[in-house]
């Protein structure tokens, strides 16, 4: 069980940050150098490298250095895993059930309205 959920946790963490999602979205269109990845982001190159390290640890992104340039690419195998499917479907349901909780709370606060219906 641990072996299955550990990579998932890492993917959740990796995609749970808006900066890293921008990076993943950029890489889903094709490989890019670190400086290309950094260009639209308002942060230092070393901060971008740290984000990149998190993405690499999650298995979502690979990078390799050729000369002075580090090229990053999406790891299609990671995104093709069954887990990725389940992450999305599950995340949608987590969201729905949050909304259900909100709905029940609202409805509970206005019993008069309910009786009228």
């Amino acid at each position: 069980m641990l072996n299955q959920s550990a990579p998932l946790d890492l993917m959740f963490q990796a995609l749970g940050d808006p900066t890293r999602r921008v990076m993943v979205e950029r890489l889903s269109r094709g490989p890019a150098s670190v400086s290309e990845l950094a260009r639209p982001l308002a942060m230092s190159l070393s901060a971008v490298v740290q984000h990149l390290q998190v993405l690499e640890a999650s298995g979502l992104v690979r990078s390799e250095k050729q000369g002075r340039v580090r090229t990053c690419r999406i790891e299609p195998a990671a995104l093709k895993t069954a887990e990725q499917w389940i992450i999305e479907r599950r995340a949608n349901w987590e969201r729905r059930l949050d909304r259900l909780a909100d709905y029940l709370a609202e409805e509970g606060e206005t019993p008069d309205k309910r009786r009228k219906r």
Binding site: F12, L15, G16, A82, W85, W93, E94, L97, L104
Partner: protein, 153 residues
């Protein structure tokens, strides 16, 4: 990314609600109540929603970003035990493309102050969903919410 494939998987979500099972169940059973929470993206447009909540009844949702891909949900209710259990099957389409067929079991159990709900989905996830950019986008929508939740935990 052109091969045909089927992935089978199951996931389960457990939640507690501060409401009696009858109220939680009603939020699944009444169309006007379910419409309030069933859509998972605030900014999406609902083109159609119908729910005929009875054994043999159907549920149909057409929703998506304005002018974008239509996400189609078609459900079929197999088992309903009032305030206790719902079992339904559903298929999902992106425009005309069938992407998954699933069996869902929802269990409602009273506890001291409210309801324990278990949501279990068993799915066959089909090929044709290999669009990485689209998938990342879809995943992001839910992850924002999840992230907030994980921070709270």
């Amino acid at each position: 990314m052109s091969g045909r494939s089927v992935i089978h998987d199951t996931f389960r979500i457990d939640r507690r609600f501060e409401a009696k099972p009858a109220r939680v169940f009603a939020a699944w059973a009444k169309p006007e109540a379910k419409a309030r929470w069933f859509s998972c993206h605030d900014d999406w447009v609902t083109a159609a929603y119908t729910l005929d909540f009875r054994v043999g009844g159907r549920e149909r949702l057409r929703i998506g970003p304005a002018g974008g891909t239509v996400h189609g949900f078609d459900g079929h209710y197999h088992d309903i035990v009032e305030n206790q259990r719902i079992v339904y099957a559903y298929e999902m389409r992106l425009d005309a493309r069938l992407i998954s067929i699933s069996l869902v079991t929802v269990l409602f159990e009273p506890d001291a102050k409210g309801t324990r709900l278990a949501f279990i989905e068993q799915g066959a996830f089909l090929d044709g969903y290999d669009d990485v950019a689209g998938r990342v986008h879809g995943t992001n929508a839910g992850l924002d919410k999840l992230k907030a939740e994980l921070r709270r935990a």
